[in-house]
Amino acid sequence: MSDSTVVGLHHEEQHHPELLHHFAEPQQQEDSASLGMWIFLGTEVMFFGGLFCAYLIYRLAYFGDFAAASQTLSWKLGATNTAVLICSSLTVVFAVYAAQQGKRTMLIGSLVLTIILGFAFLGIKATEYAEKFEKHHVPGPSFQFDNVPVPGHPDQMANRGHAQIYFALYFIMTGLHALHMIIGIGFFTWLLFAAWRGRFTPEYNTPVEMGGLYWHFVDIVWIYLFPLLYLIDLHK
Protein backbone atom coordinates (compact mmCIF):
# COMPACT_ATOMS: atom_id res chain seq x y z
CA MET A 1 0.00 0.00 0.00
CA SER A 2 1.46 3.36 -1.01
CA ASP A 3 1.84 6.13 1.53
CA SER A 4 -0.72 8.33 -0.19
CA THR A 5 -3.51 5.75 0.20
CA VAL A 6 -2.77 5.34 3.90
CA VAL A 7 -2.97 9.10 4.36
CA GLY A 8 -6.03 9.28 2.10
CA LEU A 9 -8.00 6.95 4.41
CA HIS A 10 -8.06 9.70 7.01
CA HIS A 11 -9.60 12.36 4.82
CA GLU A 12 -13.21 13.18 5.61
CA GLU A 13 -14.36 12.62 2.04
CA GLN A 14 -12.51 9.38 1.45
CA HIS A 15 -12.96 7.38 4.62
CA HIS A 16 -14.70 4.02 4.64
CA PRO A 17 -18.45 4.43 4.02
CA GLU A 18 -19.29 2.39 7.12
CA LEU A 19 -17.18 4.64 9.41
CA LEU A 20 -19.63 6.88 11.28
CA HIS A 21 -18.55 10.50 11.50
CA HIS A 22 -18.31 10.60 15.31
CA PHE A 23 -15.53 8.00 15.31
CA ALA A 24 -11.94 8.90 14.50
CA GLU A 25 -11.06 5.61 12.85
CA PRO A 26 -12.55 2.15 12.14
CA GLN A 27 -10.70 0.51 15.03
CA GLN A 28 -12.23 2.94 17.53
CA GLN A 29 -15.68 2.31 16.08
CA GLU A 30 -15.21 -1.45 16.32
CA ASP A 31 -13.88 -1.25 19.91
CA SER A 32 -16.91 0.83 20.93
CA ALA A 33 -19.32 -1.71 19.41
CA SER A 34 -17.47 -4.54 21.11
CA LEU A 35 -17.50 -2.83 24.52
CA GLY A 36 -21.21 -2.06 24.20
CA MET A 37 -21.92 -5.67 23.25
CA TRP A 38 -20.00 -6.98 26.26
CA ILE A 39 -21.89 -4.65 28.62
CA PHE A 40 -25.15 -5.97 27.11
CA LEU A 41 -23.94 -9.55 27.65
CA GLY A 42 -23.12 -8.57 31.27
CA THR A 43 -26.77 -7.58 31.78
CA GLU A 44 -27.80 -10.86 30.16
CA VAL A 45 -25.61 -12.80 32.61
CA MET A 46 -27.41 -11.06 35.50
CA PHE A 47 -30.78 -11.74 33.80
CA PHE A 48 -30.12 -15.49 33.57
CA GLY A 49 -28.23 -15.32 36.89
CA GLY A 50 -31.44 -14.60 38.78
CA LEU A 51 -33.02 -17.74 37.33
CA PHE A 52 -29.96 -19.83 38.10
CA CYS A 53 -30.08 -18.50 41.66
CA ALA A 54 -33.76 -19.49 42.03
CA TYR A 55 -32.91 -22.91 40.60
CA LEU A 56 -30.02 -23.35 43.06
CA ILE A 57 -32.16 -22.47 46.09
CA TYR A 58 -34.99 -24.88 45.19
CA ARG A 59 -32.63 -27.62 44.11
CA LEU A 60 -30.85 -27.55 47.47
CA ALA A 61 -34.19 -27.50 49.31
CA TYR A 62 -35.99 -30.22 47.29
CA PHE A 63 -33.05 -32.24 45.93
CA GLY A 64 -34.77 -35.66 45.76
CA ASP A 65 -37.85 -34.29 44.01
CA PHE A 66 -35.68 -32.36 41.54
CA ALA A 67 -33.70 -35.54 40.79
CA ALA A 68 -36.93 -37.50 40.19
CA ALA A 69 -38.32 -34.79 37.89
CA SER A 70 -34.97 -34.35 36.10
CA GLN A 71 -34.79 -38.06 35.28
CA THR A 72 -37.99 -37.90 33.23
CA LEU A 73 -35.91 -35.85 30.74
CA SER A 74 -33.88 -37.57 28.05
CA TRP A 75 -30.20 -36.83 28.72
CA LYS A 76 -29.47 -38.19 25.24
CA LEU A 77 -31.53 -35.43 23.62
CA GLY A 78 -29.94 -32.89 25.99
CA ALA A 79 -26.43 -34.07 25.14
CA THR A 80 -27.24 -34.05 21.42
CA ASN A 81 -28.44 -30.46 21.68
CA THR A 82 -25.25 -29.52 23.56
CA ALA A 83 -23.19 -31.00 20.73
CA VAL A 84 -25.35 -29.19 18.14
CA LEU A 85 -24.74 -25.84 19.86
CA ILE A 86 -20.99 -26.48 20.22
CA CYS A 87 -20.83 -27.25 16.48
CA SER A 88 -22.77 -24.06 15.74
CA SER A 89 -20.23 -22.10 17.81
CA LEU A 90 -17.51 -23.52 15.56
CA THR A 91 -19.35 -22.45 12.40
CA VAL A 92 -19.78 -18.98 13.99
CA VAL A 93 -16.03 -18.53 14.60
CA PHE A 94 -15.49 -19.68 11.01
CA ALA A 95 -17.98 -17.01 9.85
CA VAL A 96 -16.16 -14.29 11.84
CA TYR A 97 -12.81 -15.47 10.46
CA ALA A 98 -14.17 -15.53 6.90
CA ALA A 99 -15.60 -12.01 7.25
CA GLN A 100 -12.27 -10.69 8.55
CA GLN A 101 -10.39 -12.35 5.72
CA GLY A 102 -12.90 -11.24 3.10
CA LYS A 103 -13.77 -14.82 2.11
CA ARG A 104 -17.36 -14.36 0.94
CA THR A 105 -18.16 -18.01 0.06
CA MET A 106 -16.83 -19.29 3.37
CA LEU A 107 -18.76 -16.57 5.21
CA ILE A 108 -22.06 -17.42 3.50
CA GLY A 109 -21.49 -21.17 4.00
CA SER A 110 -20.70 -20.74 7.70
CA LEU A 111 -23.74 -18.53 8.25
CA VAL A 112 -26.03 -21.04 6.49
CA LEU A 113 -24.61 -23.91 8.59
CA THR A 114 -25.09 -21.88 11.78
CA ILE A 115 -28.73 -21.18 10.94
CA ILE A 116 -29.33 -24.88 10.11
CA LEU A 117 -27.76 -25.96 13.42
CA GLY A 118 -29.85 -23.35 15.24
CA PHE A 119 -33.02 -24.82 13.73
CA ALA A 120 -31.82 -28.35 14.58
CA PHE A 121 -31.49 -27.30 18.22
CA LEU A 122 -34.98 -25.76 18.25
CA GLY A 123 -36.41 -28.86 16.52
CA ILE A 124 -35.02 -31.19 19.19
CA LYS A 125 -36.24 -28.79 21.89
CA ALA A 126 -39.73 -28.78 20.34
CA THR A 127 -39.84 -32.62 20.44
CA GLU A 128 -38.92 -32.50 24.11
CA TYR A 129 -41.59 -29.89 24.84
CA ALA A 130 -44.21 -31.96 22.99
CA GLU A 131 -43.32 -34.96 25.14
CA LYS A 132 -43.80 -32.86 28.30
CA PHE A 133 -47.30 -31.90 27.16
CA GLU A 134 -48.16 -35.55 26.46
CA LYS A 135 -46.92 -36.66 29.88
CA HIS A 136 -48.70 -33.76 31.65
CA HIS A 137 -45.38 -32.47 32.93
CA VAL A 138 -46.25 -28.86 32.08
CA PRO A 139 -46.90 -26.83 35.25
CA GLY A 140 -50.54 -25.85 35.60
CA PRO A 141 -53.95 -27.34 36.44
CA SER A 142 -53.33 -30.55 34.45
CA PHE A 143 -49.89 -31.20 35.93
CA GLN A 144 -49.41 -34.84 36.91
CA PHE A 145 -46.50 -36.27 38.83
CA ASP A 146 -47.76 -39.05 41.05
CA ASN A 147 -46.11 -42.23 42.28
CA VAL A 148 -42.69 -41.32 40.88
CA PRO A 149 -40.04 -42.64 43.27
CA VAL A 150 -37.14 -40.45 44.39
CA PRO A 151 -33.93 -41.85 42.79
CA GLY A 152 -32.10 -43.97 45.32
CA HIS A 153 -35.18 -44.23 47.57
CA PRO A 154 -37.62 -46.65 45.86
CA ASP A 155 -40.13 -46.49 48.76
CA GLN A 156 -40.25 -42.66 48.82
CA MET A 157 -42.48 -40.88 46.29
CA ALA A 158 -41.51 -37.46 44.91
CA ASN A 159 -43.56 -34.48 46.06
CA ARG A 160 -45.88 -33.34 43.25
CA GLY A 161 -45.62 -29.63 44.13
CA HIS A 162 -41.83 -29.67 44.37
CA ALA A 163 -41.58 -31.48 41.03
CA GLN A 164 -43.82 -28.81 39.55
CA ILE A 165 -41.33 -26.14 40.70
CA TYR A 166 -38.61 -28.06 38.83
CA PHE A 167 -40.68 -28.12 35.64
CA ALA A 168 -41.58 -24.44 36.01
CA LEU A 169 -37.86 -23.60 36.22
CA TYR A 170 -37.16 -26.00 33.36
CA PHE A 171 -39.68 -24.31 31.07
CA ILE A 172 -38.70 -20.74 32.03
CA MET A 173 -34.96 -21.32 31.68
CA THR A 174 -35.01 -23.41 28.49
CA GLY A 175 -37.84 -21.27 27.07
CA LEU A 176 -35.88 -18.07 27.62
CA HIS A 177 -32.84 -19.77 26.13
CA ALA A 178 -34.90 -20.89 23.12
CA LEU A 179 -36.17 -17.32 22.69
CA HIS A 180 -32.53 -16.17 22.57
CA MET A 181 -31.89 -18.84 19.93
CA ILE A 182 -34.82 -17.58 17.83
CA ILE A 183 -33.52 -13.99 18.05
CA GLY A 184 -30.03 -15.29 17.18
CA ILE A 185 -31.33 -17.14 14.11
CA GLY A 186 -33.19 -13.98 13.05
CA PHE A 187 -30.03 -11.89 13.37
CA PHE A 188 -27.96 -14.46 11.50
CA THR A 189 -30.53 -14.53 8.69
CA TRP A 190 -30.03 -10.77 8.37
CA LEU A 191 -26.24 -11.28 8.43
CA LEU A 192 -26.61 -13.85 5.65
CA PHE A 193 -28.64 -11.39 3.58
CA ALA A 194 -26.05 -8.64 4.13
CA ALA A 195 -23.16 -11.02 3.39
CA TRP A 196 -24.89 -12.12 0.19
CA ARG A 197 -24.99 -8.49 -0.92
CA GLY A 198 -21.26 -8.23 -0.13
CA ARG A 199 -21.61 -5.71 2.66
CA PHE A 200 -18.86 -7.19 4.84
CA THR A 201 -15.21 -6.59 4.04
CA PRO A 202 -11.96 -7.10 5.98
CA GLU A 203 -12.28 -3.39 6.93
CA TYR A 204 -15.88 -3.60 8.10
CA ASN A 205 -17.37 -6.76 9.61
CA THR A 206 -18.49 -5.59 13.06
CA PRO A 207 -22.07 -7.00 12.79
CA VAL A 208 -20.69 -10.50 12.12
CA GLU A 209 -18.41 -10.22 15.17
CA MET A 210 -21.21 -8.90 17.41
CA GLY A 211 -23.61 -11.61 16.22
CA GLY A 212 -20.87 -14.11 17.02
CA LEU A 213 -20.47 -12.80 20.59
CA TYR A 214 -24.23 -13.12 21.13
CA TRP A 215 -24.35 -16.66 19.72
CA HIS A 216 -21.44 -17.83 21.91
CA PHE A 217 -23.10 -16.32 24.97
CA VAL A 218 -26.29 -18.30 24.26
CA ASP A 219 -24.08 -21.39 23.85
CA ILE A 220 -22.48 -20.75 27.28
CA VAL A 221 -25.93 -20.50 28.92
CA TRP A 222 -26.79 -23.93 27.50
CA ILE A 223 -23.42 -25.36 28.66
CA TYR A 224 -24.65 -24.67 32.22
CA LEU A 225 -28.32 -25.58 31.64
CA PHE A 226 -27.49 -29.06 30.33
CA PRO A 227 -25.81 -30.55 33.44
CA LEU A 228 -28.05 -28.63 35.84
CA LEU A 229 -31.38 -29.68 34.30
CA TYR A 230 -30.64 -33.07 32.69
CA LEU A 231 -28.01 -34.71 34.85
CA ILE A 232 -29.25 -34.58 38.44
CA ASP A 233 -28.28 -37.76 40.33
CA LEU A 234 -28.18 -39.75 37.09
CA HIS A 235 -26.09 -42.51 38.68
CA LYS A 236 -28.94 -43.62 40.97
Binding site: V7, L35, W38, M46, I57, A61, I86, C87, V93, I223
Partner: protein
Protein backbone atom coordinates in the same frame (compact mmCIF):
# COMPACT_ATOMS: atom_id res chain seq x y z
CA UNK B 1 1.23 17.23 4.53
CA UNK B 2 2.91 17.67 7.96
CA UNK B 3 -0.48 17.14 9.65
CA UNK B 4 -1.11 14.06 7.57
CA UNK B 5 2.26 12.58 8.47
CA UNK B 6 1.19 12.52 12.10
CA UNK B 7 -1.99 10.65 11.19
CA UNK B 8 -0.25 8.18 8.96
CA UNK B 9 1.79 6.98 11.93
CA UNK B 10 -1.39 5.56 13.40
CA UNK B 11 -1.28 1.76 13.39
CA UNK B 12 -2.94 0.64 10.20
CA UNK B 13 -2.35 -3.09 10.42
CA UNK B 14 -5.50 -5.19 10.72
CA UNK B 15 -6.49 -5.63 14.36
CA UNK B 16 -7.06 -9.35 14.04
CA UNK B 17 -3.75 -10.61 12.76
CA UNK B 18 -3.67 -13.18 15.53
CA UNK B 19 -6.66 -14.87 13.87
CA UNK B 20 -4.65 -15.69 10.77
CA UNK B 21 -3.52 -19.17 11.77
CA UNK B 22 -6.33 -19.82 14.20
CA UNK B 23 -8.62 -22.14 12.23
CA UNK B 24 -6.77 -25.21 13.55
CA UNK B 25 -6.92 -23.69 17.02
CA UNK B 26 -10.70 -23.33 16.71
CA UNK B 27 -11.07 -26.98 15.71
CA UNK B 28 -8.93 -28.06 18.70
CA UNK B 29 -11.14 -26.02 21.08
CA UNK B 30 -14.26 -27.48 19.41
CA UNK B 31 -12.96 -31.04 19.97
CA UNK B 32 -12.17 -30.25 23.63
CA UNK B 33 -15.70 -28.86 24.08
CA UNK B 34 -17.25 -32.01 22.57
CA UNK B 35 -15.02 -34.19 24.78
CA UNK B 36 -16.08 -32.08 27.78
CA UNK B 37 -19.73 -32.77 26.96
CA UNK B 38 -19.07 -36.52 26.81
CA UNK B 39 -17.09 -36.29 30.07
CA UNK B 40 -20.00 -34.49 31.81
CA UNK B 41 -22.38 -37.30 30.86
CA UNK B 42 -19.91 -40.02 31.92
CA UNK B 43 -19.18 -38.27 35.24
CA UNK B 44 -22.91 -37.91 35.95
CA UNK B 45 -23.39 -41.67 35.58
CA UNK B 46 -20.66 -42.49 38.11
CA UNK B 47 -21.51 -42.18 41.80
CA UNK B 48 -19.19 -39.52 43.20
CA UNK B 49 -21.32 -38.90 46.25
CA UNK B 50 -21.70 -35.23 46.99
CA UNK B 51 -19.10 -34.28 44.38
CA UNK B 52 -21.28 -35.05 41.33
CA UNK B 53 -22.63 -31.50 41.13
CA UNK B 54 -19.19 -29.96 41.77
CA UNK B 55 -17.63 -32.02 38.96
CA UNK B 56 -20.47 -31.14 36.54
CA UNK B 57 -20.15 -27.42 37.31
CA UNK B 58 -16.35 -27.49 37.05
CA UNK B 59 -16.50 -29.07 33.59
CA UNK B 60 -19.20 -26.57 32.54
CA UNK B 61 -17.07 -23.65 33.77
CA UNK B 62 -13.99 -24.91 31.91
CA UNK B 63 -16.10 -25.21 28.74
CA UNK B 64 -17.56 -21.72 29.25
CA UNK B 65 -14.06 -20.29 29.78
CA UNK B 66 -12.78 -21.94 26.60
CA UNK B 67 -15.69 -20.47 24.61
CA UNK B 68 -15.20 -17.00 26.14
CA UNK B 69 -11.40 -16.91 25.81
CA UNK B 70 -10.95 -18.39 22.37
CA UNK B 71 -14.27 -18.16 20.50
CA UNK B 72 -15.25 -14.76 21.91
CA UNK B 73 -11.62 -13.60 21.70
CA UNK B 74 -11.24 -12.26 25.23
CA UNK B 75 -7.71 -13.65 25.01
CA UNK B 76 -5.77 -11.06 23.05
CA UNK B 77 -8.66 -8.59 23.08
CA UNK B 78 -7.78 -5.21 21.61
CA UNK B 79 -9.92 -3.26 24.09
CA UNK B 80 -8.59 -3.43 27.67
CA UNK B 81 -11.81 -2.03 29.14
CA UNK B 82 -13.56 -5.16 27.90
CA UNK B 83 -11.73 -7.34 30.41
CA UNK B 84 -12.94 -5.05 33.19
CA UNK B 85 -16.54 -5.55 32.00
CA UNK B 86 -16.10 -9.34 31.98
CA UNK B 87 -14.50 -9.42 35.44
CA UNK B 88 -17.20 -7.16 36.93
CA UNK B 89 -19.90 -9.36 35.39
CA UNK B 90 -18.44 -12.45 37.07
CA UNK B 91 -18.03 -10.48 40.30
CA UNK B 92 -21.67 -9.32 40.37
CA UNK B 93 -22.91 -12.83 39.54
CA UNK B 94 -20.77 -14.07 42.45
CA UNK B 95 -22.39 -11.51 44.78
CA UNK B 96 -25.87 -12.50 43.59
CA UNK B 97 -25.29 -16.21 44.18
CA UNK B 98 -23.23 -16.14 47.39
CA UNK B 99 -25.32 -13.58 49.27
CA UNK B 100 -28.55 -15.35 48.29
CA UNK B 101 -27.12 -18.68 49.39
CA UNK B 102 -25.81 -17.13 52.63
CA UNK B 103 -29.45 -16.28 53.35
CA UNK B 104 -31.25 -19.43 52.19
CA UNK B 105 -28.43 -21.78 53.24
CA UNK B 106 -28.72 -20.71 56.87
CA UNK B 107 -32.53 -20.97 57.05
CA UNK B 108 -34.16 -24.02 58.55
CA UNK B 109 -36.27 -25.81 55.94
CA UNK B 110 -38.63 -28.46 57.13
Amino acid sequence: MPEDTKLSREPTEPAHEHHESSLTGYIVIWLILLAGTALTVIAARIDLGRFNAAVALTIATIKALLVALFFMHIKGAHEKLLKLVVISTIFFLFILLTLSMADYGTRTWS
